[in-house]
């Protein structure tokens, strides 16, 4: 008698439910908070009033623009720096590769708060090492309107480039040798090989790394809090910082909940768009190859 086995998806149903139920419950709680007035006794249901306030909150939208500018700059630069590091780490000519691969990853392991506090000291005008090394000891990197956001981006790149480096190094080391040997035989130089072979073959890894980094970027709070508290003015106030202030300094949990839902929706939209973009590029590449 033939035994009917459950389909594969059924095997994973239980762990998926167990993983997602706490997240769904938390999300439901936040949605509930955003539909009530927490300043009144009993926290009555008031519908979407907080969302109306969110959409009319010019400060919130300014922080969103700051977040997007910060995100594009830090994710983009982190990727480029990380890719450069990965190419080095994957090179067979590099000695002590294992040691370098471990050391390079250290900044990513540092907590954002610790990184922020340390870099704030390093950026300090007068006795900070950044100014000393650049020959500009009296520059107020974090207090200057034009420099503060780039300074924060710099710290973010220091933290996230190793993340890209590790993922892309693994990707580079897993690439098959044959296409590269064939390209060499055909006379392709290093740049053409990189552009037409390495990058397309690394695309799936790049896509994953960028997606994960974007989610991290949109949630940035601790780094900015430690470095600048969102100042000077609100120049470096990312949305994570704004939500923190609303919830935990100003005790407006209901408004903060609505802002959080907005952030979740934005994150989901951006990650979905990035995935579609990646799939679109991949489809066109496959079509071109055929």
């Amino acid at each position: 008698m033939r035994v009917r086995r459950p389909p594969t998806w059924a095997i994973y149903l239980l762990p998926v439910l167990l993983w997602s139920i706490p997240a769904m419950l938390s999300l439901a709680r936040v949605v509930d908070m955003s539909l009530r007035d927490w300043q009144l006794p009993g926290r009555p249901f008031i519908g979407p009033q907080h969302y109306e306030r969110v959409f009319n909150d010019t400060v919130l939208w300014a922080s969103l623009r700051t977040t997007l500018a910060f995100g594009v700059a830090s994710a983009g630069l982190s990727f480029l720096v990380g890719l450069g590091i990965a190419l080095l780490l994957a090179s067979e000519r590099l000695r002590w590769r294992t040691l370098f691969r471990s050391v390079i990853f250290l900044p990513y392991l540092v907590s954002p708060i610790a990184a922020g506090v340390t870099w704030k000291l390093m950026y300090a005008p007068g006795d900070g090492i950044v100014g000393y090394l650049l020959g500009l000891p009296s520059v107020d990197w974090l207090g200057d309107l034009g420099l503060s956001l780039p300074a924060v981006v710099g710290v973010a790149v220091w933290q996230w480039a190793p993340f890209y480096a590790v993922i892309l190094t693994a990707g580079l080391l897993a690439l098959p040798r044959e296409p590269f040997e064939a390209a060499q035989i055909d006379g392709a130089d290093a740049l053409r090989t990189f552009r037409h072979l390495t990058l397309p073959m690394l695309r799936p890894m790049i896509q994953v790394a960028v997606l994960l980094n974007v989610i991290d970027v949109l949630r940035t709070f601790a780094l900015v809090f430690a470095l600048t508290e969102g100042g000077p003015g609100r120049i470096t106030e990312v949305i994570g910082m704004h939500i923190y202030l609303t919830a935990f300094r100003f005790f407006r949990m209901d408004d903060a909940a609505a802002q959080t839902i907005l952030l979740i929706a934005l994150t989901a939209t951006i990650t979905l768009a990035l995935r579609r973009l990646g799939e679109g590029h991949g489809g066109r590449s496959r079509a071109a190859a055929a």
Partner: protein
């Protein structure tokens, strides 16, 4: 796929993976269910009629306080003695105190989260009059202490400003362990060498700061620049001393008056001679003074022990202290207090009060001050032993006599009010907008905050 040697199939691998994932996912849930909320730790003694004496009751108090602050450090130090003597002090309960410490905003975050989740994790909390007092007293996050206070403990012995700052509508919500105000701190040796008199007015202070600045080696002044709240908190004193107010009796914002504009102009003027640095708070101010970067500051009186500490200060004995220079309408009566309070959800209120009462009792308060705690009772300011160690406390008593307990309006959104002012001032200081534009923007925001909070009728 089948591995003939080991009988492993793809399906069996998937199955094992699913079981592993289930276990990993379930483990945190099981752990969460197994550990419930912090249960009261009082244990009952054995009943009468037992041949052996009943074991003492036990209680564990969880206290949360301000990391690194001298008054909190003094609290922890004295707490060791309390714990050793707790059976006698409490009349039969052996008390253990668990301390946790964080920055001010993090304490607010943890207490608020604990209150919202109705956990009751903490029994003693640090309260800041400028940040959390308003929201916690109005929101009943901390309990009123009047019913616990005994006449023997003598709350009236505390100096008036200490009592005023911890009361709202006749109820006392915290017992101060620190009271501080802004005082003028200056390098006496530099002033004497240059023949500079101690400034008495804001204009004199600005002129001295200009004179002493020799960029980049040294600056005439240093001030807080933390954008989220500190700049706004400091500005309030300037505002009051120029005759300005944050809002009027009807809670309508009044930050666009000529007095307010004059005050912000003076602040921005002196900031031109202030040591640069973003996100500065009292730690950075202290460092600027300790290492000679800045020659003057108007900052909290509690930093004086740090300035006279040979381990960290290069200029001990060279600092002078005086009343913060006044504006044309009066002094800049900055004052803030740190208090110990009892969260409303604490299950050990009686025992927590025993600790607070003991640590702030008259008979041991001298030890408290000598350990670095702030002077709070009248006797502290005349005690020869205390004055020998901290001679500046005579001046501090004078300054505290002029302090305004409502320096920060003790309303629920007080922190949001002066945080809004702070961010706009920070933008003006960085050159993003003029001081007047900054106050116009702050005025609009403060109005919205007060309207939303139901204060404007």
């Amino acid at each position: 796929m089948r591995d003939a040697a080991h009988g492993i199939t793809r399906r069996s691998l998937l199955k094992r993976g699913a079981i592993g994932a289930t276990v990993l996912a379930a483990a945190p849930l099981v752990a969460a269910c197994a550990s419930g909320p912090a249960a009261p730790t009082d244990t009952s003694a054995r009943g009468a009629g037992s041949a052996t004496p009943a074991p003492p009751k036990e209680a564990t108090l969880r206290a949360i306080g301000l990391q690194g602050h001298p008054s909190w450090l003094a609290t922890k130090e004295l707490a060791k003695q309390f714990q050793q003597d707790s059976l006698r002090i409490t009349g039969g309960t052996s008390v253990t105190i668990e301390f946790s410490e964080f920055g001010g905003p993090e304490i607010i975050q943890k207490i608020n989260a604990d209150f919202e989740a109705k956990r009751g994790e903490y029994d003693i909390t640090y309260i800041n009059s400028a940040q959390s007092f308003g929201q916690w007293s109005e929101g009943s996050v901390v309990t009123a202490l009047n019913s616990y206070m005994s006449s023997a403990w003598d709350f009236n012995d505390f100096i008036p400003i200490v009592r005023q700052i911890s009361e709202k509508n006749g109820k006392t919500y915290g017992i101060p362990i620190m009271i501080e105000n802004r005082m003028l701190v200056y390098r006496k040796d530099v002033f004497d060498a240059d023949g500079i008199a101690v400034p008495r007015t804001v204009d004199e202070m600005i002129a001295v700061a200009r004179r002493l600045t020799r960029t980049p080696e040294r600056y005439g002044f240093t001030a807080r620049t933390a954008a989220a709240s500190s700049m706004g908190f400091d500005f309030l004193g300037w505002l009051y001393s120029y005759g300005g107010r944050i809002f009027d009796e009807r809670y309508k914002a009044t930050l666009t008056t000529p007095e307010a504009f004059t005050a912000v102009g003076k602040v921005l003027e002196i900031m031109k001679f202030a040591a640069p640095g973003a996100n500065k708070s009292y730690g950075e101010i202290t460092k600027d003074l300790q290492n000679g970067t800045a020659m003057m500051a108007n900052d909290v009186s509690i930093i004086t022990p740090l300035l006279e500490d040979a381990r960290v200060s290069k200029f001990i004995g060279k600092f002078g202290y005086d009343v913060a220079p006044a504006g044309p309408k009066g002094p800049r009566p900055m004052v803030s207090g740190h208090m110990l309070g009892i969260p409303e959800l604490s299950r050990n209120k009686e025992t927590a009060w025993k600790f607070i009462e003991w640590i702030t009792a008259k008979e041991r308060s001298k030890d408290w001050v000598l350990l670095g705690g702030a002077p709070l009772r009248e006797g502290h300011f005349t005690n020869p032993e205390i004055l020998a160690k901290y001679p500046q406390y005579t001046l501090i008593r004078k300054i505290l006599g002029e302090a305004n307990p409502d320096y920060v309006p003790r309303i629920r959104p007080s922190l949001e009010v002066y945080a809004s002012i702070s961010r706009e001032l920070s933008a003006a200081h960085a050159g993003q907008k003029s001081g007047e534009d900054a106050l116009r923007a702050a005025n609009t925001q403060v109005d919205e905050i007060l309207k939303r909070g139901g204060y404007q009728k």
